[in-house]
């Protein structure tokens, strides 16, 4: 099996092949990284795997926040209900 993103791109009518060339010089994000701070350089190392980790962590932490919030809301309802039952 050979799957190449380039083949997909060749069939399109896009004026600029954005997969092999930059769309705009302003978007050459990794170009100036040599001058960037050490944190940004470390983030951009290892074929950008840390960016995927960051995206995954953002999704996980947002979901986790939502789970905790829902859990607490249910807990408050339980408390309210128990208080009204004992009155």
């Amino acid at each position: 099996m050979s799957f190449s993103l380039m083949q997909v791109q060749e069939d399109t009518v896009a004026a600029v092949d954005t997969l092999s060339k930059s769309y705009s010089s302003q978007w050459e994000a990794s170009a100036g990284l040599e001058e960037a701070g050490p944190v940004m350089q470390a983030m951009a190392s290892n074929d950008l795997i840390f960016i995927v980790l960051g995206v995954s962590l953002i999704i996980w932490l947002v979901l986790l926040f939502f789970i905790i919030r829902t859990d607490k809301k249910v807990g408050q309802l339980e408390k309210k209900l128990n208080n009204s039952n004992t009155d």
Binding site: M1, F3, W60, I67, I68, V74, L77, E78, L81
Partner: protein, 221 residues
């Protein structure tokens, strides 16, 4: 308002599993390459689903012994979360298959099709539940159905696929996890299984408490 301590443990544990899963160096495996890290995500989906369905079976049998609607509610909740993880397993498996086997879905792959069949059996459980207005009748029929549904799962997911030729690990002529998996992967894989099961129990807990509160509110005073 504080959560129970074990929930914070699950939250931190899963965060550590995600970070570790991305960062540990893994050996070069032909075809799989970096997608071998999917082992930490795709396989625990099925483990977690099995645990949830087993829990559902336990509560269904408990209900048949002692008809208490609270027990039926627990059986339904565990099965709901189990189905959620099963659907995630199917979807992640299809994506992984596209880039390693070359297809989203193939009808010559027994494990893929039989697990989809297993999901449909569990969808039928929820369809069946909607068919009754009387809660006692619904609980009883659903509990009996769940005993049959849970019985099919070991056959559909483990026993039959192992007898048939397949690309999926753990089939005839294709050794299972124990023989082919690099030991490095296990340092994350086993914690991931525990973490996802913990997360599932957390979700079951929330959903179950929500249903209990809802039931108490809707009760005629």
């Amino acid at each position: 308002m504080r959560l129970k301590p074990w929930k914070y443990v699950v939250a931190l544990w899963m965060t550590a599993v995600i970070v570790g899963g991305f960062l540990i160096p893994i050996p070069e495996i032909p075809v799989l390459e970096e997608s071998a890290r999917n082992l930490f995500l795709h396989v625990p989906m099925w483990f977690t689903m099995s645990v949830c369905f087993a829990l559902g079976l336990f509560y269904s049998i408990k209900y048949l012994n002692n008809p208490d609607l609270a027990v039926d509610r627990k059986a339904e909740t565990a099965t709901q979360i189990g189905l959620l993880f099963g659907v995630c397993g199917l979807l992640t498996g299809a994506l992984w298959a596209r880039f390693t086997w070359g297809t989203w879905w193939t009808f010559s792959e027994p494990r893929m099709n039989l697990s989809a069949l297993g999901m449909m059996i569990y969808v039928a459980y929820f369809v069946l539940r909607t068919a009754f207005d009387n809660p006692d009748k619904r609980a009883k029929i659903a509990a009996v159905f769940n005993v049959f549904a849970a019985t099919t799962i070991p056959f559909l997911l483990y026993i039959i696929p192992r007898q048939l030729p397949s690309l999926h690990p753990g089939a005839d002529g294709n050794p299972a996890f124990s023989e082919i998996t690099a030991p490095e992967l296990r340092y994350i894989f086993y914690p991931a299984v525990i973490g996802f099961i913990g997360l599932a129990i957390w979700l079951i807990d929330i959903l179950n408490r929500y249903k209990k509160v809802k039931h108490q509110i809707e009760q005629p005073l």
